[in-house]
Amino acid sequence: MTNNPHISIQHLNVSIGNQLILNDININIPNKKVISIIGPSGCGKTTLLKSFNRLLDDTADVKVTGKVLVDGENIYDPNMEVTHIRKKMGLLSQRPYPLPMSIYDNVAYGPRLHGSPKKSELDELVETQLKATGLWNEVKDRLNAPATRLSIGQQQRLCLARGLAVEPEIILGDESTSALDPVSTSIIEDLFIKLKEKYTIVLVTHILRQARRVSDYIIFVYMGKIIEFGPTEELLLNPKEELTKEYVKGYIS
């Protein structure tokens, strides 16, 4: 694809208990693009996404083999610092999960962990990230209100701002719009398209239209295997594999 992949996955196998969830995954994810992972539910999409920042570590009985290289570093290397990897990636989950603190503290949470920034620096950073996610005008008068008072759509944008505040390189989205109303969904989608100038974005989605609207490339996963990987239009309109064709037409779901 590109000469310089941002994330490179080599022979990745993930099993939980006796069940093989991901089977020999090999893929290169290009830099500063939006990539969608699609596939029927239970096919391993979310597991694949979580393997990128080692959130699988805490799952019971999980076994991971193979390599995931981010910027050339294998994140499954035993000497690797987990917090260092996770800081590189912002995660946006299915539903917004604001931390139990104020709007301001939510955004400042990450930066405070990784250093002791001055109040003025923090103020500036919070404002920048809230502006980047289009939330600033809506919340600037109540930064100290609990984050849970915001609407679901606002909360999800806050979670995005919170993730951006640690200056990641990659944004991971796990069906990030599935709990949102259409208006909030399109705001988030527009944000993704805008943000790819600076970030590599990997999204899990089961909505083909969404994948088509926002992504440059699509990965189709079925039964723990990557069936096809290619540019969006090509994969959706002219799939090479029979399984992809059937999924896109809606025969398997």
């Binding site: 019971a60 009985d61 917090t83 999960y97 139990p100 949470y109 990450g110 640690v166």
Partner: protein
């Protein structure tokens, strides 16, 4: 023929409905009776303690240190302080240990270890108070007498508020651990993942997210544990020396309220006003524990409802 049949069924139906009604009233009666035990206990104890309250006053009873039943002097201050000392020591020991244990069980422990640990905490909660008392006498008392106290004071028999506090602490371990674990388990995994994916360590996530989220539950568990410690009788009575003076150090003996009631019930009837004074002690315990229990149960019920919504 069909008419007769329908008559029969309607008769039967009436009988069935009547039966339902009778049983319903009967059950209502049982429910009211068993719940009103709270009220009856309160009223009964108050009624019995009226003589001693009239004789002195609430203020004197609560703040005086004069305990001379033969002269009609009933100052509960040493007993109240004894109760506060043992309860305080128990909570200071148990709370940090239990919080750390609960965090370990819910966040760190591998499944295998968790499956072994939880049943043992459960078993601990089934052990009767008197066994804790025996253990206190056989293990804690010599430990304090020979190994702990000599570092701090010249002489101690071991029978002290510290011994009472330690035994109580172990008794409330299961209570605190089970409630806090339950509350921690209701925190959504995604919330912790959100913190982790921002680069927080597990401990930072516990400290800043889980702890904050579980705070009401932790408060409720603590209040419940305090009220449990307040009322515990036999185990404390066996190890804390039972000396009616206000303790000034952890190695001093103390005489908590429940122990006072238990120790003197037999002979109280021969001294005037003595039975009334002991009933007053029971009333005090009852009121405090009732309040604490209501507070913690309301917090826990609210929390449960909030998390279910």
């Amino acid at each position: 023929m069909p008419i007769l049949k329908s008559n029969q069924t309607s008769k039967m139906k009436r009988f069935r409905l009547l039966k339902d009604k009778i049983y319903s009233k009967l059950m209502l009666l049982f429910t009211i009776l068993s719940v009103s035990v709270v009220l009856v206990i309160g009223v009964g104890l108050y009624y019995k303690s009226v003589p001693v309250i009239n004789n002195s006053s609430w203020g004197t009873l609560l703040t005086s240190s004069q305990w001379k039943p033969l002269k009609g002097l009933f100052g509960f201050f040493p007993f109240i302080m004894g109760t506060l000392w043992v309860t305080g020591i128990a909570i200071i020991i148990a709370l940090p240990l239990c919080l750390l244990t609960s965090f370990y069980i819910t966040e760190y422990a591998p499944n295998r270890i968790r499956k072994i640990l939880v049943p043992f905490v459960n078993l601990l909660s089934g052990i009767p108070p008197v066994i804790f008392g025996v253990w206190g006498v056989l293990f804690i008392i010599p430990l304090i007498q020979n190994h702990i106290a000599p570092h701090f004071v010249e002489f101690s028999t071991g029978y002290s508020v510290l011994a009472g506090g330690i035994v109580l602490a172990v008794m409330i371990f299961p209570l605190i651990v089970s409630i806090v674990c339950e509350v921690l388990n209701t925190i959504p995994r995604e919330l912790k993942e959100a913190s982790l994916s921002l680069g927080a360590t597990k401990w930072e996530t516990i400290k800043k997210v889980s702890f904050r989220k579980a705070k009401p539950g932790i408060v409720a568990a603590t209040v419940l544990a305090i009220s449990r410690a307040f009322g515990e009788t036999i185990a404390v009575l066996m190890v804390c020396g039972n000396n009616a003076v206000v303790p000034h150090s952890v190695f001093d003996p103390g005489y908590p309220l429940p122990a006072l009631i238990a120790n003197n019930y037999g002979e109280m009837l021969s001294i005037p006003m003595y039975d009334s004074a002991l009933m007053f002690a029971a009333l005090l315990l009852f009121i405090i524990i009732l309040l604490f229990n209501i507070i913690s149960r309301v917090i826990l019920t609210r929390l449960e409802r909030k998390l279910a919504a």
